[in-house]
């Protein structure tokens, strides 16, 4: 099963990095939909079927926490798996996110971390054992 993934980050470069990591780590991605803030993400969720949302916290217009709150309030998408991809390091903030049913990946992240958490929460099967360290010629790296 290919996952439709919504990537929400105000940095277009970071969105591209996440998309590339997903592809090269063997995660079966159907549509990779992008949004630059929470409000754009809600519009995308309104018009697309999404299996997984990857959300930054600090964004203009509507931040990641507000977006997660909106998702959890909407009966149609309240159970959407959410991974927060952020520089946030405060244990207090991370606990708040976890209470909202979000999983957390800290920037900079390794491709392996990203792949493992996606496999864990979506149950998606990786078709072939593709090593994440093939992303960069010469060996594995963090992102």
């Amino acid at each position: 099963m290919a996952l439709n993934v919504l990537i929400v980050d105000d940095s277009s470069v970071m969105r591209a990095m996440i998309r590339r990591t997903l592809n090269l780590c063997g995660i079966p991605v159907g549509d990779a939909i992008e949004a630059a803030n929470g409000a754009e993400a809600l519009q995308q969720l309104d018009s697309n079927w999404v299996d997984l949302a990857m959300i930054d916290i600090n964004m203009p217009v509507m931040n990641g926490i507000e977006l997660i709150d909106e998702i959890r309030k909407n009966p149609e998408i309240k159970d959407l798996p959410v991974i927060v991809v952020s520089t946030e390091s405060s244990k207090t903030q991370i606990e708040i996110l976890q209470q909202k049913g979000a999983h957390f990946v800290h920037k900079p992240f390794t491709p392996e971390e990203l792949r493992q958490i996606i496999v864990d929460i979506t149950g998606v099967s990786i078709g072939e054992e593709q090593a994440c360290n093939s992303i960069i010629p010469g060996g594995g790296q963090d992102f």
Partner: protein, 155 residues
Amino acid sequence: MEKNKLATQLYQVAARTFENMAFLIEMPEMNDTSSQVQFTAQATVSFHGPFCGKVTLQVDEELLQTLAANMLGEMDVPSESQQLDALGEMTNVITGNLLPAIAGSEKVFNLDAPVKDRYIEMSSISDSSMITTSLTLDSGSARIFYVAESEGGSN
């Protein structure tokens, strides 16, 4: 916290972030050339929490281009917009990783969006309490400034 310890933390966090995000390796043996470098772009992230301040990252032209290309995984030179976006994201990640190293992981800080600029005005970031560190990487040079402006800012 004493200035030398802060400078060491700033250097270590920045070096690790450049390596992890953009596969750029520090070359400390070449650090003495940093005074000759012409920095052509900068990004600043302001933070608010138990104390307020900002982190500014300046890079030379070679590093600006390589940074974005490596983060995007592209061989071609990325657009100006992508270059500045990559610089802003790098500054954001450095700031986000520096603050818990300084203040501990229990403290909550809010980070503003990066302010990116092609024109570097040195007087705008001159401050006696500023901590500065320089990095020479395998594809260019960077200079990072950290300043804590006040205690007990808004959250």
